[in-house]
Point group: C2
Amino acid sequence: MIQLGFFIEILSIEKYLSEGKKFIDGSLAQFLPDESAYPKSIHESMNYSLLAGGKRLRPILVIAAAEAIGGSRDVVLPFAVAAEFIHTYTLIHDDLPALDNDNFRRGKPTNHKVFGEAIAILSGDALLTQAFIVMTNGFLMESVPRGNVLKAAHELARAIGSTGVIGGQVVDLESEGKPIDSQTLEYIHIYKTGFFFKACIRVGAILSEANQDQLSALSRFGSHIGLAFQIVDDILDITGDEDLLGKDVGSDQDRNKATYPALFGLEESKRKAEELVEQGIANLGEFDERAEPLREIARFFIQRTF
Amino acid sequence: MIQLGFFIEILSIEKYLSEGKKFIDGSLAQFLPDESAYPKSIHESMNYSLLAGGKRLRPILVIAAAEAIGGSRDVVLPFAVAAEFIHTYTLIHDDLPALDNDNFRRGKPTNHKVFGEAIAILSGDALLTQAFIVMTNGFLMESVPRGNVLKAAHELARAIGSTGVIGGQVVDLESEGKPIDSQTLEYIHIYKTGFFFKACIRVGAILSEANQDQLSALSRFGSHIGLAFQIVDDILDITGDEDLLGKDVGSDQDRNKATYPALFGLEESKRKAEELVEQGIANLGEFDERAEPLREIARFFIQRTF
C-alpha cells in the first residue's frame, strides 16, 4: 500500500499531466490506420489534427478515474484514445466555415485550411467512426466483461449525441449575437463541454467495475469540474495568452458569444469556477489517495493558463 | 416447415420490400429523440432526412440475413434502424456544398438547403452518433450474447470508416474530372457502397448467431450484390427517371465522374451487374427457402428502376 504522505509528495500535477499526455501520444498510432494508408489525404488529415497537440485531458480523465478505483490504464487505454478521437472530431467540425470559421487551432492552421472543407468534414466523420471501431474491438478488452464495454461505449455515445455535445453546439450557434439568459448559457456549457468530461470519468470507472456508490460520486465530481472547465475557457478567451492557448483570444467577444464573464463579470466567474471545483472534490471523500490525481486535475482546471 | 413451392408462390419481392419498409418506417421513432426535443432544429433536421423517404434497403438486408438463418427481425431491429441512421448521415454529408453540392435528394430539397450547412453537418454527426447509441444499448438486445452485439457494432463501424465508406467517398471526390482506370472505379464502388451492404448482411447474421460457413457464404453474397447495386446506380443515373429516382439524373456526367457505363458502356455494365448477382446468389446454395428474400432482393437490385 502506498503511503498517503509519500504519494502526495511525488504527485506533481504537471508531471502527472505531461506523463499522461506522453502515454496517450505514444498510443494513438496503434489505434489508427497508418498515415500512409490509402486513401492518403484522409489519413493525413486525421493524423494532422490528432497530432497537432492538445493536453489530452479527456483521455487522462478516463485513466485517472480508472486508477482512482484501482483499475489499470492499460485496460482503459482504447477508450481513453477513443475519447481523444471524439474530441478531435468535434474540434475539426466546430472550426469549419459553416460553424465557427476558425483559422487556428492548437497553434496550427485548422484542418479545413490545410486539407479543404470536404476532407475536413470526412476526416471528422472518420475520427468519430474510428472511436467506435476502437471501443467495440473486443480483442482489446479481454479483461473487461463485455456488458461493461457496451455500457461504456453507450455512455460515451449518449454524451456526444444530439441531446449532449451536439445539442450544446447547436444552442451555442443559435445563440450567437443574441442576448441569452444564464439558464441557456449553463445549458450550452454543460451540454457542449460538461457531459463529455463527465462521460470520460464514468467510462474509466465503468470499465474498472466501479460500484454504484463510486459511480455516483464520480458522476457528481465530473458534472462539477466539467462546468468549471468551460467557465475557465471563457475566462481564458479574455485574459489568456494567444501563444500559450494556441488559438485566437477574444474570439467569443468578436462573435458576440454569451460567456460567463460577459454575463457575470470576470471576478464572479472565477469565484464560480473555484466553488464548482471545491464542490466537485467534496464528492470524493470516500476515495483514498489513488483519487489524488483526479483531485489535482480538478484544481488544475481552474489554475491553468492554457 | 414451409414448403418451398408455397413459399415462392407467396413471395412477391415488391410486397416483401414494401412491408419491410413499413416495418422500419414504423420503428424509427422509438430509436430517436422526439422531433420536438430540445434543441428543436437539430431534431427536426435529423427527422427531415430520415423521413424524406428511401427504400430502407440496408435495414431490410439486416433483417433478411437474420431471417435466412432462422433469426428474428425483432431482435435485429435496433441494428437495422442504426444502418438507416448511418445511411442517412452519409447522404446528408455527401450532399453538402463542399462535397457533391446536391440540391435534391429523395425528391425533396437536401438537408442543408432547408436547415443550413451548420445544422446539416451537425445533423449528420448526430445520426452517426445515434446509430452507436442504439447499437450499444444493451437493453434492446436481451436475446443476443453481448460479444455478438459488440462484434456486430464493430463490423458496421469498420465498414463505414476511413478504410471503408469514407475512403471510397474520398477517392470518388478526388477522381472527379480525372481519367481513372477500372481498378480505381471498382475501389470507389466497393468501398463507398459495397462494404456497407455486405456489413448489413453480416450484422444480421452475427446477431442471429450464424456459424462460420453461413457467415462466409453471406459475405461473398454481400460483396457481389453490393457492387452490382452501385453499377446499377451508375446506369440509372443515365437511363433512370428523375421522378422515380427522386434526384437529378445525369449528375455523374455533369460532374465528369467515372462510372461503369462511362468506362465499359451501358450494355457491358448491365451484363456485369447481372453476372455479379448470379454469382452472389450461387453462394447461397446451402441455404433453404428462408433465404429466398435475400435472393429476390439481389434480383431486385438489377431490375429496379429507382
